[in-house]
Amino acid sequence: MKKILIAVLVLAAVAAAAWFGVVRKPEQARVAQAVQEDRPDFEAQGVLLRQLDAQGKLQYEIEAERVIQLANGDVQASRLSFHHQPPPGSRRKPQRWNLTAENGDFPAEGGIVQLSGNVRAEGREDGDRTPLVITTESLQYDINGEVVTVTAEVDITDGGNNFKGRGARVNIATGIVTVESGHGKISL
């Protein structure tokens, strides 16, 4: 009888602890859930990953030495090449953008790609002999907005033009490059 009473008390204590942890500490539960989302869903070495949109159309391609896809669908890539072909507008030729970086974060829903470490971005219109080349340490590539944004030191070359500054914005749709806090000589 005494043993049964002890067992009941132990079970009651475990049940109370479980209720306290789940119901009375919801933030802890959320953290636990977030940890679950950050958990790698799969990891692959030396891969070519093609991201399709809802219609099954190719959004972008990633070639990377290592790729991790998280449970929430986000992709983290190391030593990667990223290829994107913005849809051609009515007043511009088709373009292709090739970017390389040490690291890249790719949201599952597309949107803004974050690249860092020895970033090099090359954008070229069909028929162009020379690409627009951006080199920097950190860069955001907005797939939907078709804008490249840099807040770090940046070096931009377009044919014979070379611009250095801190901060830049490239509107892929209009072909307008803005460079902030410029420095260094520009040969005309």
């Binding site: 931009i156 377009d158 803005t178 410029g182 000589k185 005309l188």
Partner: protein
């Protein structure tokens, strides 16, 4: 209005033709690397290769420097670089200085073709080689032509070199030898005054008296 004084002579612009240099102006070497040495912000259009630059300091070899609040560079056929300048434009070319609100400077490759400044009275100054006087001029528009190495003033032009003063509609000034030329028929309000005493020598200071010197 013409002035009459015992030590001055009034002269029409026709007289200035006589003051003009007998030697034709020799075009200077106007080549050099065309660079933007400093700037704050720029917008570059990949489609047409035009560039708009804020707070630009531009140099052309060692002869020419330009400061402007904004410089818009356009590449035209024939390897022509056209710079449209605005916002406190200051051009310094071999001692000649042009100040204006706006300017248009044209290069063919690395060769300076022309510079035209405009504004509510663009100003010009130049120190001719070997001359003690600095030439100063104002006009609605001032153009520098690289081929002839001359500066053309047009529209309400006033000019002085310390000895000659002109208020005319149009005037040419040679950067090579500092001479001035007016090719137009003299207008009703055109006036030039030559001060013949302005070049008189200053007497040599006398030796101080020993008795009064300290």
């Amino acid at each position: 209005m013409a002035r009459f004084r015992s030590d001055r002579r009034t002269a029409g612009t026709a007289l200035l033709l006589a003051l003009a240099a007998m030697n034709p102006a020799v075009p200077a070497e106007l080549s050099g690397a065309l660079t933007i040495d400093s700037w704050s912000r720029l917008e570059h259009n990949v489609q047409d290769d035009s560039t708009s630059i804020d707070d630009a300091r531009i140099s052309h070899g060692s002869d020419m420097s330009i400061k402007a609040g904004r410089a818009v560079r356009a590449l035209l056929p024939g390897n022509v670089n056209r710079l449209t300048l605005s916002g406190g434009v200051h051009i310094d070319y071999r001692g000649a200085v042009l100040d204006a609100e706006t300017a248009l400077v044209v290069f063919r490759g690395q060769q300076l073709q022309s510079a035209r400044v405009q504004g509510s009275q663009a100003t010009f100054s130049h120190q001719p080689a070997g001359s003690p006087r600095r030439v100063r001029g104002q006009a609605n528009a001032i153009e520098f032509d690289g081929a002839s190495n001359r500066v053309r003033f047009s529209g309400k032009t006033s000019y002085t070199d310390g000895r000659t003063e002109c208020n005319v509609e149009e005037l040419y000034y040679s950067l090579a030898d500092g001479s001035i030329i007016n090719n137009r028929p003299q207008g009703e309000n055109d006036r030039c005054t030559v001060d013949l005493d302005a070049g008189a020598r200053v007497p040599t200071p006398r030796t101080p008296d020993r008795s009064t010197s300290q």
